[in-house]
């Protein structure tokens, strides 16, 4: 299963365990958009994202936009190396405003 959803302290935690690319974007968008209407805080766990392209990035941008439109809190957690690389490259870490923890088991870039 590419997306795992769990709940903890009233926060919906969504773990994406797949690439976030143009091949997966449509399906991921359909799955994720459901939670935007729940009214609960969302946490996206990106630890399992081994590859991300512009489509994946756009999806995150869209999620952020939609969350604020619906007035729910959305945070990205446990960024994988692939995700951080993209966010850094495009100078977007600040835009999402989530603390990025660099994991020790990433490959030396």
């Amino acid at each position: 299963m590419a997306i795992q959803v769990s709940e903890k302290n009233g926060i919906t935690i969504i773990a994406i365990q797949d690439d976030m690319t143009i091949y997966t974007a449509s399906e991921q968008k359909a799955r994720l958009s459901k939670y935007l209407h729940s009214g609960r805080e969302l946490q996206i766990n990106l630890a399992g994202v081994s590859e991300m392209d512009s489509a994946g990035l756009q999806l995150l941008l869209w999620l952020k936009q939609e969350a604020s439109r619906h007035a729910i809190k959305l945070s990205l957690v446990r960024h994988s190396q692939a995700v951080v690389e993209v966010l850094e490259l495009l100078n977007l870490t600040g835009h999402f405003g989530d603390p990025v923890v660099i994991s020790a088991n990433w490959n030396a870039a």
Binding site: I22, A25, S26, Q28, K29, S33, D53, S54, A55, L57, Q58, L59, L61, W62, Q65, E66, R69, V86, L89, L90, N91, L92, H95
Partner: protein, 735 residues
């Protein structure tokens, strides 16, 4: 001559001119190092020579000129200061380039000689350039090099950052064109200083298509590349991305400076605005194509409102307003330049010579016709003949004028000589030039160069003293050599004056006596003593040092000048300096003459030297037959009977009335007594054969309309003869 040979001929001529210009400019820079005009002219010389050499495959020239050009480019941009050392090096570079050109012409197949190679390498080292083998650097590479230099030197200012605006279209991702890939690649070319990612059109809610691309980027980029280089990063996305590249401030300045550069003379042509901007790297061909397309679309919509291409380029932010304005200005100036150049044509001087010869024949025919008209008393033809005669003289004057050139260029060449020699001798010498605009026949100019060089070197070597000596003598340390030229009664006078030590006439006299040129009891005027300097006997090296070296080759100088129907004289004041005066005819081909007759022979006196003609009546002139003086209305002058002089006739009958022609040479007036005055006569000079070379008093001959030959008088020689005769006579009288 094949077309290529002809082209090479043009190249050589052009290169000569450019190098001469370069030298002048360099010397000018010595006094005025900030003169951008001169810097540009030096740069242009190297730049143009490099460019044309490349066309002919003269790689050695290209490689060398490239190094010099690079340095000059830095000077031009103010990145390098031009000082005496650099000027000296560049002067040597100029010489070296001449040698390279010569090498390419004569032995292009062969390798450069070791000497040339070494000189080249050492010059490049002195220039501070690389000794690497940059065989032929294409011109484009220069602009790249230029931009990279600026970004290296001023890398820490924001003035060097490119701004790249990217707006990806919806299909980019579906086409496999991921913006991330391009940005990652861009990063390998330089630094992404800042990047702003946005998706302003990202749809709200379900309308967002995850496979469409909504991303826009604004990238601040710093790297050693040009506009084209940046554009090519995104070339595969050309259908899926709007791209605008805004050059850094320094680049804009770079473009402006490139546009400010004068275009090479030969390839001066009106470039289209777009082409011009592409050539300097301010625009990429794609940007121009886009603007042109928009223009044609606009035109199709409403022909009146179509905007000029420059405006469109600015609007679509492809080019900056000042750059476009500068380019338009340049386009305008090139147009004007081409229009101005169209006013000049280069003519083979041989063709010109032929024309002048023909005009000469025409003049003779004209004279013949007039004579016939006179002889047959054809009064009705006379008017026509007169007006045709006027036209012929006008044609003659115009044809001669074609060959007239200002002497200034010849004079200017000596700046280099003066500079080099004074450095070599540790003297401080300034060369003053006046009268450079004075014109004379090109053939005369060419031949006067050697004698002038000789005379100037003499002034430098022996005339001007060392600074200490000058100081001791109470003169300024810097000596002056003054070159002057002016017109004087149909002659051109060239003077070389120095404020050096001057000549001691006693010493010369002593030497001349020792050499048997004169006898100890001979009384000579100061002028006559100085004239001895031009005698061959006084011209050996040993004596040269004793006589401040003035004697060296002075006889050769005089021979050369006399061969031009000119004369040379010298005046000197010990401690004050020396002045050498050269008198030259303006042209060697045709003169306005005054024809006289003596003993049934016709003679021509150059009209410019005729002061007046007098009927010999006792009231007006009084002859002193013993001393050969004539007193003309109170003015005393020597006279010469032409009939006596040329026929060695000692007695003359007074059967017919005589006339006198007063001629002037310099300050001296002499009367020529003749039998008949024929009046003005256009004279085409035919040089006398070798046999007559020794003939005194004759400078040439001309064919009269009747087919007879008339001799052209060497007035100068005759004047000298008459005055000498007079002084001898007076000596005789005194003794």
């Amino acid at each position: 001559m094949s077309e290529l040979d002809a082209a090479i001929q043009t190249f050589v001529q052009e290169a000569d001119e450019l190098l001469a210009e370069m030298e002048l400019a360099l010397l000018g820079l010595e006094d005025n190092p900030d003169d951008s005009e001169s810097i540009n002219s030096v740069f242009r010389a190297m730049h143009t020579i490099k460019g044309s050499s490349g066309l002919f495959g003269f790689d050695s020239i290209v490689a060398f000129a490239h190094e010099a050009e690079t340095v000059l480019d830095q000077v031009r941009r103010g990145q390098r200061v031009i000082d005496g050392t650099l000027i000296s090096t560049l002067l040597n570079c100029k010489d070296h380039t001449s040698k390279l050109i010569e090498h390419c012409l004569t032995e292009a197949e062969q390798e450069l000689s070791q000497e040339l190679k070494l000189t080249g390498e050492s010059l490049i080292k002195q220039l501070g350039g690389a000794t690497t083998k940059q065989e032929s650097m294409p011109v484009e590479a220069d602009s790249k090099r230029g931009s990279s230099e600026t970004s290296e030197t001023e890398g820490d200012t924001n003035g060097n950052d490119w701004v790249i605006l990217l707006e990806f279209g919806p299909d980019a991702l579906r086409n496999g064109m991921d913006p991330l890939s391009f940005i990652r690649y861009l990063k390998t070319l330089g630094d992404i200083v800042d990047i702003l990612t946005s998706a302003p059109d990202l749809p709200i809610g379900e309308a967002m298509d995850p496979e469409s691309c909504y991303l826009h980027f604004k990238i601040v980029f710093r790297g050693n590349t040009d506009k084209q280089g940046i554009e090519s990063v995104f070339e595969f996305a050309e259908d899926d991305c709007e791209i605008r590249i805004i050059p850094p401030h320094s680049q804009i300045e770079h473009y402006l400076s490139l546009l400010a550069e004068p275009s090479d003379e030969d390839d001066a042509q009106v470039e289209r605005l777009g082409e011009m901007l592409i050539n300097i790297g301010a625009l990429t061909p794609k940007e121009v194509a886009k603007a042109l397309q928009r223009q044609s679309e606009d035109k199709a919509e409403s022909p009146e409102q179509a905007k000029p291409i420059g405006e469109i380029l600015v609007e679509q932010q492809s080019a900056e307003q000042p750059v476009v304005e500068q380019a338009l200005k340049k386009q305008q100036s090139v147009k004007q330049k081409i229009a101005a150049e169209a006013n000049y044509i280069r003519v083979d001087s041989e063709k010109l010579g032929k024309l002048i010869n023909l005009v000469g024949e025409l003049v003779i025919s004209g004279a013949a016709m007039r004579m016939m008209v006179d002889r047959h008393g054809l009064s009705d033809v006379e008017e026509v003949a007169v007006s045709m005669n006027d036209l012929v003289s006008e044609i003659r004057d115009t044809a001669l004028e074609l060959r007239m050139v200002a002497i200034g260029e010849t004079f200017s060449r000596f700046r280099r000589v003066v500079r080099d020699v004074s450095n070599e001798l540790n003297k401080q010498i300034e060369l003053k030039i006046t009268g450079g605009e004075t014109e004379l026949d090109k053939t005369v100019v060419e031949k006067i160069n050697d004698p002038l060089t000789h005379l100037i070197r003499n002034s430098l070597d022996h005339g001007i003293e060392m600074p200490e000596q000058r100081r001791a003598a109470g003169k300024p340390e810097q000596g002056t050599v003054h070159l002057n030229a002016y017109h004087d009664s149909g002659h051109i006078v060239i003077q070389i004056a120095d404020d050096g030590a001057g000549l001691n006439d006693e010493k010369i006299r002593t030497k001349a006596i020792a050499n048997g040129l004169i006898t100890a009891d001979q009384v000579l005027t100061k002028q006559e003593v100085f004239d001895l300097i031009f005698e061959a006997g006084l011209s050996t090296k040993d004596e040269a040092s004793n006589l401040s070296g003035r004697g060296v080759g002075m006889d050769v100088v005089r021979r050369n000048i006399e061969a031009l129907r000119g004369s040379v004289s010298l005046d000197s004041e010990p401690g004050q300096g020396t002045t050498v005066t050269i008198n030259l005819p303006l042209t060697l081909a045709i003169i306005d003459g005054f024809m006289v007759e003596a003993e049934q022979e016709c003679y021509i006196i150059p009209l410019s030297m005729v002061e007046e003609c007098v009927e010999m009546s006792p009231e007006e002139c009084e002859f002193d037959e013993i001393q050969h003086y004539v007193n003309l209305r109170g003015e005393v002058m020597p006279y010469l009977r032409l009939g006596d002089y040329f026929n060695n006739r000692k007695q003359h009958s007074n059967i017919h009335r005589e006339s006198m022609v007063v001629v002037r040479f310099g300050q001296t007036k002499v009367g020529f007594v003749v039998d008949k005055l024929h009046g003005e006569h256009q004279t085409v000079i035919k040089p006398l054969g070798k046999v007559f070379e020794q003939l005194k008093g004759i400078s040439g001959a001309t064919v009269l309309g009747s087919g007879d030959v008339a001799l052209i008088l060497d007035v100068q020689g005759l004047v000298q003869f008459a005055t000498r005769d007079k002084s001898r006579a007076s000596i005789g009288l005194a003794g």
